[in-house]
């Protein structure tokens, strides 16, 4: 390592570095390889991570849930971005007033409908995240994909 403090921020320290901290995922991935099938290790692993699978199956499976979660997180972020774009699309479309009201009550309900269409992506996204809290990540993603298909701002896309 260089002694120059200016350059230290530009390089990775090794295990001898005083600020080095072993990450929890690294510990979890290493454990089965060190003590495969040991009952004590098994019990410790089960206590530490409830969702972790049997340690005897190897480190690849152990690292599985962590990798899946980050993928799901990225997908949720992408879908959130799409929903945000939909909101913008519906907002722009609401400025154009494509539905023609007949009487005074229709005028109110037309505004309500435009407001609802702007809020719809946020409502769907919020409802999905709220009501699928305890469901599988795949189910959450599928619900959000369904919403991304249902809520396409066609008036904006078609330029009406």
């Amino acid at each position: 390592m260089t002694s120059d403090p200016e350059d230290e921020g530009l390089s990775w320290g090794d295990e001898k570095d005083p600020t080095y901290v072993e990450s929890s995922s690294q510990i979890r991935a290493d454990r089965p390889a060190v003590t495969p099938g040991a009952s004590a290790a098994e019990r410790r692993a089960a206590a530490e991570a409830r969702r972790a699978t049997a340690p005897t199956t190897g480190s690849a499976v152990d690292a599985g849930p962590v990798a899946t979660n980050s993928v799901v997180l990225v997908v949720l972020g992408l879908l959130g971005g799409i929903y945000l774009l939909y909101t913008v699309g519906w907002f722009i479309s609401a400025q154009r007033n494509i539905a023609l009201p007949v009487n005074a009550f229709d005028v109110v309900m037309t505004y309500v409908r435009e407001g609802l269409s702007v809020a719809a992506p946020a409502l769907w996204f919020g409802c999905t995240l709220l009501f699928t809290r305890h469901s599988k990540p795949l189910l959450r993603v599928l619900w959000l994909v369904l919403g991304a298909l249902v809520l396409i701002p066609l008036p904006f896309v078609l330029g009406v």
């Binding site: 494509i98 539905a99 409908r113 609802l116 719809a120 409802c127 709220l130 009501f131 249902v150 078609l158």
Partner: protein
């Protein structure tokens, strides 16, 4: 109402507040159903009166789909809300109204 819902264990009972929520949201859904039916009646008539157009030129498929949207979404929202509490049911009905708004506006846009 309660006799049919108490048979299945995970389904929560429909209390007075749940019935009120279903009715209040049902009225809003009913307005958009009425609006779609009115379009189904008025628009073909307007096509008939227009020069060079007949009733057959009206966007019948879109008009019929627009009639079905509020009914289908209300039923879906009602079914999805069965296992939720009153607030959850209201939220699902509200999100359903958002879907009704986007889909009906989409059918209007497609008919242009």
């Amino acid at each position: 109402m309660s006799a049919s819902t108490t048979n299945t264990a995970p389904t929560r009972r429909f209390g007075r507040s749940s019935i009120a929520v279903a009715i209040v949201f049902g009225l809003v859904y009913a307005y958009y159903l009425f609006d779609a039916i009115r379009s189904t009646v008025v628009l073909p008539a307007a096509y008939e009166n227009a020069v060079g157009l007949t009733v057959a030129d009206a966007p019948w498929t879109l008009l019929i789909i627009a009639d079905l949207i509020p009914v289908v979404i209300y039923v879906v929202a009602f079914v999805l809300g069965r296992r939720r509490n009153v607030l959850g049911r209201a939220l699902i009905f509200l999100a359903g109204l958002g879907v009704v708004a986007t889909l009906t506006l989409s059918t209007i846009a497609l008919s242009y």
